[in-house]
C-alpha cells in the first residue's frame, strides 16, 4: 500500500480524516443549538444569524478562507485574542483546517437539523412538560432523540463537505504537508503536475471510499433509529 501512495499522500489522507471528524464533532453542539434557535425562537437577530450561518455557502470559498485568515490569523483580532488568552492557534495548523471545514460545512449541518426540529410535534414536548420535564430536559429526552435523523444527516453532510473542502482551507492555512495539507490540497497540487492524474485518481478513490463508508454507516444508523421509533 505504501508504494501505492507516497507517505506524504497518506499523511494527507490521515489529516483529512482527522480534520473532517474534528470539524464535524466539534461543530455539532453549536450546530444543534443554532438550528434550535433558528427553528424555535423569534428574536431580533434571527435573520442576521440565519444569514451569517449561510454566508460560507454564498461566498466563494477563497473569500471565506481570506476572511478567516484576516480574523483568525495570527494577527487577526479573534486569532490574536484566542492565542493570547487560551493559547489556541488556528493559523497554519490542522486545527485551522478543521475550523475552515467546520465553517464551510456549518450551513449544511444547521439546515438538516433545523428541518427535523421543525418537524417535531410541539404537542409531544408539551406533554413532556406536563410530566414535569423542564425545557432542557424536554430537549434532551424528547426533542433530541426525535431529531436524530437530522443530526445524522447533518453530520454526514458536514463530514462529506469537510472531506471535500479545498478553497477556504488552502487560503486560510495553506497546504503544508503533514500539517495542513488535506486530501483536496494534495489533489490540487497533483493536478499542477504533469502526469499527476494517476495519483489524483488514487486519492479521489480513497476520498470516495471514506465518504461512502460514512454515508452507508449513517444510513444504517438511520434505519436502526427508524426501526426503534417503529414507523409502519
Amino acid at each position: 500500500m505504501t508504494d501505492w501512495l507516497t507517505p506524504e499522500e497518506w499523511q494527507a489522507v490521515a489529516l483529512s480524516l482527522r480534520v473532517s471528524l474534528v470539524a464535524t464533532l466539534f461543530s455539532l453542539p453549536l450546530g444543534i443549538f443554532v438550528a434550535y434557535a433558528l427553528a424555535r425562537w423569534r428574536f431580533p437577530g434571527h435573520g442576521l444569524l440565519n444569514g451569517l450561518v449561510h454566508l460560507p455557502l454564498v461566498l466563494p470559498p477563497v473569500v471565506t478562507g481570506y476572511l478567516l485568515l484576516l480574523t483568525f490569523g495570527r494577527t487577526g483580532w479573534i486569532g490574536g485574542f484566542l492565542d493570547g488568552w487560551f493559547g489556541l492557534v488556528f493559523a497554519f495548523r490542522w486545527t485551522g483546517a478543521a475550523l475552515a471545514a467546520a465553517i464551510m460545512a456549518f450551513p449544511l449541518m444547521v439546515r438538516a437539523i433545523r428541518l427535523t426540529i421543525e418537524a417535531v410535534d410541539p404537542k409531544l414536548e408539551a406533554a413532556a412538560s406536563t410530566l414535569g420535564a423542564s425545557r432542557p430536559w424536554v430537549f434532551a429526552t424528547i426533542t433530541l432523540p426525535l431529531i436524530l435523523p437530522g443530526i445524522l444527516a447533518g453530520s454526514v453532510l458536514a463530514f462529506a463537505k469537510a472531506m471535500g473542502e479545498f478553497g477556504a482551507t488552502i487560503t486560510f492555512v495553506s497546504s503544508i504537508p503533514g500539517q495542513t495539507q488535506t486530501m483536496p490540497s494534495a489533489i490540487y497540487a497533483l493536478l499542477q503536475v504533469p502526469g499527476g492524474e494517476a495519483a489524483v485518481g488514487r486519492l479521489v478513490v480513497i476520498a470516495v471510499v471514506i465518504a461512502m463508508g460514512a454515508l452507508l454507516l449513517s444510513e444504517w444508523i438511520g434505519r436502526m433509529v427508524a426501526r426503534r421509533v417503529g414507523g409502519a
Partner: protein, 231 residues
Amino acid sequence: EEVVVFAAASMKTALDDFAAKWETETGNTVTISYAGSSQLARQIMQGAPADIFISANSGWMDEVEKSGLVKDGRRRDLLGNSLVLIAHGRDAGQVDIAGDFDLAGLLGEGKLAMALVDSVPAGQYGKAALEALGIWGQVAPSVAQADNVRAALRLVSVGEAPYGIVYATDAAADENVTIAGTFPENTHPPIIYPAALLRGADAAADEAFYQALSGEAARASFEAQGFRMLD
C-alpha cells in the same frame, strides 16, 4: 532542521525533485506548500511560518517585500520562463508568431485557453503579447480564461479548446499538446519567478536552501522542466 517553503503551484515538479535531492544531501527536511502566488503572499503577510517564498510573478513578491517581511537583500530573480502557443494533439502544425499572425482565423469557432488575463501572471503575459502583436482585439472574444495556467493547459489537453497560451514548462509536460509557436520575448514583460528569504527564517538550513536554489543541482531540476535559470 526543517525548511518551510511557500512556492507557486506551477513549480511543483521541479522543486519537489530538487528538494528531494537536497534533503538526502544535507539531512534536513524541506516542507513545501504549493498554492497560488496570491494566496501564499497573503498568508505570509498574515504571519505564515514560511522561511522561503517563491512567487510566480514579481507583483506579489513586491507586496511581501513592502510589508517588510523579506530579509534585507535576500530576494532575487530565480527563474525565467517563456510563453508558448500550444495546440491540441501530438502533431499540430507550426505557426509563425509575428506581426500579422492570424490567430483569430486559426481559432475559427474554437476557444483560446489562457489563464485569467487580468490577474493570473500567465494570462497577463499572454494578453500583453497578443496586444503587442496587435491581435488582442480580434482574439479577445474567443478567450476562455482558466483560474490558473494548468487549468488552461488542461482545456487544450482534453481538446475542449484547440489552442492555448501557457508557459513552455507546462507545454513540455503534456503529451496531448504540441507547441505551435513561441512568443517572442519582446512581446511581453520578462517572465520572472523571484525567490526570497523571509524574516522568520532563522535556521542555518533556511539560508542554505535559499543559496542552493541557485546551485547546479537546482539548475538541473529546473531546466529539466523547461525553466530558465536567471543569474
